[in-house]
């Protein structure tokens, strides 16, 4: 019986954290947020060099032979750093391609697992992360089937000012395009891939909420008011405790959802819905609480908290709102 992280898993998180701390600090975040690009090659290469693209692939497919849990741990760290790039799309895309039967399509796997080719999600709606940079779009055909659409002719991209500055979206529409059919409607992999995406979004939210809590706690320890650190005032102290009380226990909810997916447990789909709904609620509340806990400085652009708030806005809406997933969870429970 084992339900906490192994030293290897801790090491993976440390490696990703270390890499991002080198190439993705507040300075890069600020520059990227005000730039035109929707993709940051440097941090992407650095992340992919760690093999996170193929983390969840069987070794036979050139992957690390690990699971969605390990991928979720990576997404958690990426969420904490507000890392750019379609990381979730890449991981889910790699799983999709590895699982598909078409050998021609499977030939793309190496380039995708290595991150050399970029995959982004184009499910439910027309807003797509890193649309300009993507080589492939993992898209639904509206009839329940999944396809891997190649960038280029037939793909129209309209730039917009994205609320989430760390993972900017564009409006994408598909005309006549080069597409690799992956799974037809009804294929269980379609649901499994959606579940995987939900789990990874929840993991990103977990990391972001944890980061906002940590920042607030650190600030409360150093910031002085009325002759003492504000963290000594019980009012704020209890608000910070409440933030931690939301985030820390929810960590195991994400772990379970990923574990259930890896183990193919019967409640995997429901666990994914629960994790997505619950963590995105927490992310919204935590970013708001963090800004309030900081006071004025938290409301400034420079301080940067707003990037996580904006990220929480995308996570919450992405692939369905918390209320929608709670409704799904209720249905799946047979209520």
């Amino acid at each position: 019986m084992r339900f906490h992280l192994t030293s290897e898993q801790v090491a993976i998180q440390d490696a990703v954290r270390g890499t991002l701390s080198e190439c993705w600090g507040m300075e890069q975040l600020h520059r990227f947020a005000d730039g035109e690009a929707d993709f940051d090659p440097a941090s992407w290469k650095a992340l992919m060099a760690l093999g996170v693209g193929g983390l969840a692939l069987p070794e036979a497919d050139g992957g690390a032979g690990l699971g969605l849990l390990d991928a979720a741990l990576v997404c958690e760290v990426a969420g904490a750093a507000a890392a750019p790039g379609p990381l979730i799309g890449q991981i889910v895309g790699a799983i999709a391609v590895a699982a598909c039967a078409n050998s021609a399509t499977r030939e793309l796997l190496t380039a995708i697992a290595s991150g050399e080719r970029v995959v982004t999600l184009a499910l439910d709606g027309d807003l797509v992360q890193s649309a300009h940079a993507a080589d492939y779009y993992l898209a639904d055909d509206g009839a329940g089937g999944l396809h891997l659409i190649e960038a280029g002719d037939g793909v129209t991209i309209e730039s917009v000012t994205a609320t989430d500055r760390s993972r900017p979206v564009s409006r994408v529409s598909f005309g006549t395009v080069e597409a690799h059919p992956l799974f037809t409607a009804g294929d269980p992999m379609v649901q499994r891939l959606r579940d995987a995406a939900l789990v990874l979004i929840a993991a990103d939210a977990l990391g972001g909420a944890q980061h906002c809590t940590d920042l607030s706690v650190e600030y409360a320890k150093t910031r002085e008011q009325f002759g003492q650190p504000i963290g000594k005032f019980q009012g704020l102290k209890h608000q910070l405790a409440q933030m931690a009380l939301e985030v820390e226990p929810a960590r195991a909810l994400v772990w379970y959802a990923a574990y259930a997916w890896d183990a193919g447990l019967p409640d995997a789909t429901r666990a994914a819905a629960m994790a997505k709904a619950h963590l995105c609620e927490i992310y919204t509340r935590t970013t708001r609480a963090a800004i309030a806990a900081h006071g004025g400085i938290g409301y400034t652009w420079e301080y940067g908290l707003n990037y996580w708030f904006r990220r929480s806005v995308q996570n919450r809406a992405w692939l369905g709102s918390p209320a929608q997933h709670r409704a799904r969870a209720a249905k799946l429970a047979g209520w």
Binding site: T163, V169, F226, G295, W301
Partner: protein, 398 residues
Amino acid sequence: MDLSYGEAAEAFRKDVRGFVESHWQPGERRGAELKEFVRAFRRAAIDRGYLYRSIPKQYGGSEQPADVIRAQVIREEFGRARAPMEVGGNGVNMTVPTLLEQGTEEQKELFIRKTIEGDYIWGQGYSEPGSGSDLASVRTKGELSPDGSKWIINGQKIWTSQGMQATHMFMLVRTEPDAPKHDGITYLLLDLNQPGITRRPIRQMTGEEGAHTFCEFFFDNAETPVGWQVGERGKGWYVSRTTLKHERASIGSADGLGSQFKKLVDLAKEMSRLDDPLVRDRLAEIEGRVLSHRYSSFRLFSCAAAGEDPGAVQLMMKLLLTEIGHEIALLAQDLIGDQGLIEPEGAGGRGPRGPRGPNKWLDQIMGSLGNSIAGGASNIQRNIIAERGLGLPRDGSV
């Protein structure tokens, strides 16, 4: 109880409406021409006793007896016709009342008329990077020039609203470094148009950064004449506490909240979510607090009109408004859904922007967090309610 204003007030309303209808005809005027027309309109309104009612005639006011009902009627009628009211801002709301109570004759002559006519725009120089809610922890230094003729100011102020347009500032500076916290502060007026002062807009999380945002000010040997010191040297903290009297009670904030809530309902309709039982329940739950705020402001207004003390409820209005703002933000965010992923026209930052549709609610969703500006302001409000309202013991944080 009776929510009508009474016959006298309605008769007065007729006069006001008549005045506004006959005098507020801006027609096609634009730019300088319009500006002059507004100026003239305000002068006429002052002559009628409709504006600046608490300000003596000699300084350009209309010097009327305090009457919150009449004041409210005036606000309503001017508002109905979208006619210009008092210029508002820190100048009229803070500088003028402070000068009327504590200024020298010279200062009153010098500043009040120019302020209410809109020539002088005042920034508030209280907060500093280190101070937050602890306003008395002023570090900006004020030293007398060798000849004792002027104050030399060095330091930094922050969170000055309208900072980019401000022509003047009223500020707290530390002049007695060795005196106890609250007793070493002096209240100064300052002309912002001088070397030694640099201002920088503070970009907010909304991305907003233009003329109307907050500013930071840096003072490097800025100067102001000793004659521009208000109240005694070292007593500035108490000068700044000068509370605002005279017709402050108004139903304004409640009207604002009410129309915001109406817009929220419209949003639910626009997003085809108004038949969702969860949305209906949350709307009704929020409206319970919106109406509590509205009727409580009626209550405050009524007490003010009768010159009675409304009690603790007056200490709760700000926090209540803040909390309702958060609830509205959370529901609005769920209502706009995907549309919230694109910033509305006018939001700060880069590139082409999305159309200003339902996503314009992002301004409120983020803006509702601005209420906590100035370090845990809501916790300060809770302390005020607990200590002044409920009589609980002080814990030294306010």
